[in-house]
Structure formats: structure tokens, C-alpha cells
């Protein structure tokens, strides 16, 4: 039985898990959707109760019925043959997504994670609602395009607010790559909220002063947690903004938090997730967000967490 890995060919984190599986003698078929249709061939037929057939690259193949688990880790856009018109490209890409993606998505095996579950979990407002339903402590949050409501919210919270993007935080303009980190609102910001009405914005109660932050990486039902201590003012607001100032230490979440995290995982149908928490001076854990495709290679090295090994265990086992 084979572990099917769908990932970009340049991905160090994937490499490490693939090597672990290989060392254990577990068959691995790694490919990228970017290889389809030019270097990757799919022939699948609907048998009695499932899709079966063969996925083949230039040197190996796997029968779909022999796949025990799928690691869906950010595979890339389909790369289509040259010579197609833009209309043909769009149509062919759509067919590839529905055909290749449809067959893979329908495999009745363990997914880490199923792409549809990843997609649902990408919505922060849905995450916050589910987190609260699961008993996790969630900062007060406002999503709005109404500047007046932001000012009312600030008064209601009675303390600092932060704002963060609801989706991807990196983009380019003028040819320059840019990033938006979580930032604290100043009095000047509240006095000048132009641009809020342009689109939906997320404003949230600032949890501080912080004792520390935590990244809880969940693999199946195993929680691997690191406390993150930010040693610079920028990192104290968003630790992604200054990695060099960070220190890490293993930590165990309180049992109610642990239960809440696992309930969240069940609710979204996830087998992998990276949860971010802020822990205040009273020791209360505040849920911020979950990235169902979170990076982890840097963290297992820094905090000594066996995330790759645990993931290899899960993919080998084929069940949570």
C-alpha cells in the first residue's frame, strides 16, 4: 500500500517526510499536479464501489486501489501543452481540475488534508465561530466594511484593536513583493479609517500583554506544541514579522484547550492543522487561527518537535 504525496517538487518539508517513509520501507508515489497532463498520466475507471486505475509518471506508477493515504500539500497549477488559446487553456485547466482533482478527491482513504476540508477551513470567520463552539476562548472580533462600526467596536472593547487580513497576506504591486502582518490600530488609524469601506476587514480585540504565544501542530490526534517568545516589539504583535527575535520551548496546552482543538479538527474534518494561540498573563489561551496547511519544518527544528515523524506515522497507518 502506497502513500500518495501531491506536492510541489521543491518543498523541503515534503522531502523530509518522503525520506522518512522511504527509510521505513513504505512505498511513496510523489507527484505534482503541475506535472499533469504532460508528465503525469491518469487512467481511472469507476469499478464496483470506487475509482480504480493507474497514476503513472516517467519512472513509476501506482494503482489507485493501492493508495493507503494521500498527503495533499499545496500542489501546483496544471501545466498545459503549449499552443492552446486562452479559452482552450481555461477549459483544459478546468477539465483537469474536475477530472484529476475529482478522482483523487473521491479516493476513500485518509487525506492530510482533504482539499475540500482545507478549503472550508480557509475562512477565518468560520474558524472563529467553530472555535468558540468547540469551547476555545476567542477574542472579540468584528468583520465589517463600515468605518463607524469600527469606532463603536473600539469603544466597546475598551482596549487596543488589531487588524489582519482575512486571506493571503502576501502580494506584489509595482513588481515588489509585499506582506501585511497583523498590526495594532493607533488613535490616528481610528480617526482616519478611509479604505475600510472598500472591502471586508477584520478587527479584533488585542490580547495583551502576552505571556507568550503558542503554535500547536496537530497531526491526526497528536498535539505537538511550542511556546513562542517574541523578543522584539514587532514580533510581539505578529511573530512572523521578526523570526530572528523568537525563542521556542515545548509546552502542553491545558486539557480544555486540547479538547477544544480536537473538536475543531473533527468539525472541519482535518487530520493536520497549525493552531495559533496567544496566552495572556492570566494563563488563558486565546485562539487566533488555524492554518490547515501550516509549515512546520522550521518549528520542529527549533523546538524539537517530532512533527515529520508523527506525520509519517499517520500516513503509514492510514487512519487517525
Amino acid at each position: 500500500m502506497t502513500v500518495l504525496v501531491l506536492a510541489d517538487e521543491f518543498d523541503v518539508t515534503t522531502d523530509r517526510v518522503v525520506e522518512l517513509l522511504r527509510e521505513r520501507g513504505v512505498p511513496v508515489f510523489r507527484c505534482d499536479t503541475g506535472d499533469f497532463p504532460q508528465r503525469l498520466t491518469l487512467a481511472a475507471a469507476l469499478d464496483a464501489d470506487r475509482w480504480d486505475g493507474v497514476l503513472r509518471d516517467q519512472i513509476r506508477e501506482v494503482r489507485l486501489s493501492e493508495v493507503r493515504s494521500v498527503w495533499y500539500r499545496r500542489p501546483t497549477h496544471f501545466r498545459l501543452p503549449d499552443g492552446l488559446s486562452r479559452t482552450e487553456q481555461r477549459l483544459a485547466a478546468g477539465e483537469a481540475r474536475m477530472g484529476f482533482g475529482g478522482v483523487v478527491s473521491a479516493l476513500p482513504v485518509l487525506f492530510v488534508n482533504h482539499p475540500a476540508r482545507d478549503a472550508d477551513c480557509a475562512y477565518k470567520p468560520a474558524q472563529l465561530a467553530v472555535a468558540r463552539e468547540c469551547g476555545l476562548r476567542v477574542p472579540r472580533t468584528l468583520v465589517t466594511n463600515d468605518p463607524g462600526r469600527v469606532r463603536e467596536f473600539a469603544v466597546s472593547v475598551g482596549g487596543p484593536l488589531v487588524t489582519k487580513l482575512l486571506g493571503a497576506s502576501a502580494f506584489t504591486e509595482q513588481g515588489v513583493p509585499k506582506v501585511v502582518y497583523t498590526s495594532k490600530l493607533t488613535d490616528e488609524d481610528l480617526a482616519d479609517l478611509r479604505g475600510v469601506s472598500t472591502t471586508a476587514h477584520l478587527f479584533q480585540q488585542w490580547i495583551g500583554p502576552k505571556a507568550f504565544e503558542a503554535r500547536v501542530t496537530v497531526v491526526g490526534r497528536v498535539l505537538l506544541s511550542a511556546a513562542i517568545y517574541a523578543r522584539s516589539p514587532e514580533a510581539a504583535v505578529d511573530w512572523r514579522s521578526d523570526y530572528d527575535s523568537l525563542e521556542y520551548q515545548r509546552v502542553e496546552p491545558p486539557e480544555p484547550v486540547r479538547e477544544g482543538i480536537l473538536a475543531f479538527m473533527r468539525r472541519f474534518g482535518l487530520n493536520f492543522g497549525g493552531f495559533d494561540f496567544t496566552i495572556d498573563q492570566q494563563g488563558r489561551w486565546w485562539f487566533l487561527e488555524c492554518n490547515s496547511a501550516a509549515q512546520f519544518g522550521w518549528l520542529e527544528a527549533a523546538a524539537g518537535l517530532p512533527i515529520s515523524e508523527t506525520l509519517a506515522d499517520l500516513l503509514t497507518r492510514g487512519c487517525p
Partner: protein, 107 residues
């Protein structure tokens, strides 16, 4: 739970190597530009945050990327942005937000 993602998002694909789609467009005027972008920072202001995609080849036997001399690619100190430029969208349409989530984004 009820699904909320659209059909395309439910089999989301990324840009190769986590590279950002390059746009040459100018920022819009204050008042139109989304408030959330007010504190956007260029990566060249954050030199310690940037990683270059090294020269590599994919070893189809080991199924991992290797550097010249078949050396293993070292684990980055931390996950970080990729600055090599990419062009176009190979599957024939513009990238969707969930598809541009770069590899380095730990959040």
C-alpha cells in the same frame, strides 16, 4: 459542516515553489486602497525574511529535490518568502487567494 468554498477552491492549487504572482500595478489612492494594506511592507525592507530559491534539480528516484552534487536541500532557518519571479498562471487563469498562499507563510 456545510461547505462554503467554491468548486475550484475545493481542489486548490498553488504557484510553483510558493512564488508570488507578479503584478506591476500601482497602489490605488488613499480612500480607495483597502485600509488593511495601509501597513503593507516591501520584503526588501525585511532582508532577514527573504530566501532565494536555490538552483536545484528534482531527483525522481529519491523523489526529493537536491542541490548541485546531489546534496540535500538544507532546511531553512525559518519559513520565508521566495523572491524569484514567476510569470503567468500555467493553468490558464488568474490565481485565487487561497492559491497564492506562499509556502513560507506560517500563519
Amino acid at each position: 459542516m456545510d461547505p462554503i468554498a467554491g468548486a475550484e477552491g475545493r481542489f486548490a492549487l498553488s504557484a510553483p515553489r510558493g512564488l508570488l504572482e507578479v503584478s506591476a500595478e500601482q497602489p490605488s489612492p488613499v480612500g480607495v486602497r483597502p485600509f488593511a494594506l495601509r501597513r503593507a511592507r516591501a520584503f526588501d525592507e525585511l532582508p532577514d525574511q527573504v530566501a532565494r530559491v536555490p538552483e536545484y534539480r528534482y531527483d525522481p528516484v529519491r523523489q526529493v529535490a537536491v542541490l548541485a552534487g546531489d546534496r540535500d536541500v538544507p532546511l531553512f532557518k525559518h519559513t520565508n518568502p521566495r523572491t524569484q519571479e514567476t510569470t503567468g498562471t500555467p493553468d490558464g487563469r488568474g490565481a485565487q487567494p487561497e492559491e497564492t498562499r506562499p509556502d513560507w507563510q506560517p500563519g
